[in-house]
Symmetry: C2
Subunit: 141 residues, 2 copies
């Protein structure tokens, strides 16, 4: 798996949100898709109607209810989790579950982006990362 | 970004599908979540109702219509794209757009998984990968 594409209502709004919350360098645009190249996987942002059309002409580009998935960012410390949540609410996101200790021994919370997609931001001592910042297989821990 | 969690109706069905289509080693289960550790990002599978509950108690765990996103796997060749689509329909997926030349100079198609989530499988000569198979930043190309 190499990319996730989110269909968004407002491409500039979504891009500004993700650049700030992920603290990434300026994004790249190809053929109307904004690419935010994260370690190990690219996040791409595309107008919802365009994404639906790219998949199949018979998909109705209307979202309602729970999209059924969540994305996760593994932070390097509890402090980094807190810093991200500190930014989220000032830049157009919504804090859904404030960060707190989790049942699995970590520290995590959820926010939703301007389009209502859910992200978990978590710290857990059991997670390890490579030099680029991508999550390592657990066997390498 | 380090994980994507898909809320699924049948955890065993979804796990079997992804193990076959991605040709991954046996998955790991922690606290009821199935983890498929891919290069650079983990795919996790979780019963839809459990995922909704983990995010917030007021989310209704019912999906309808277009979820609004797609996942992508970048293959190493047109042949690998064809091989993946050859497996998809025999293991419970649905071919939404058979692989063909794309407007951006690649070769790609879409399938949907047993829960109706969309994947693009694409080959493009402009994409490069690290030793583990994770997509490299385009600047490194």
């Amino acid at each position: 798996m190499s990319m996730i594409t989110l269909g968004v209502a407002d491409l500039d709004r979504a891009t500004a949100f993700y650049e700030q919350v992920l603290a990434t360098p300026p994004n790249k645009t190809h053929d109307g898709v904004r690419f935010i190249e994260l370690p190990g996987v690219w996040l791409s942002l595309y107008p919802l109607a365009e994404l639906a059309k790219d998949i199949a002409p018979d998909i109705t580009a209307i979202r309602s209810g729970f999209a059924g998935f969540s994305l996760a960012y593994n932070a390097r410390s509890e402090l980094e989790v807190r810093e991200i949540f500190g930014r989220v609410s000032t830049i157009g996101g919504r804090i859904v579950k404030p960060p707190a200790a989790t049942f699995w021994g970590g520290f995590a919370g959820y926010f939703s982006d301007p389009d209502g997609y859910y992200w978990e931001v978590a710290y857990g001592a059991m997670f390890n990362f490579d030099e680029q910042g991508a999550l390592l297989p657990s066997a390498a821990a």
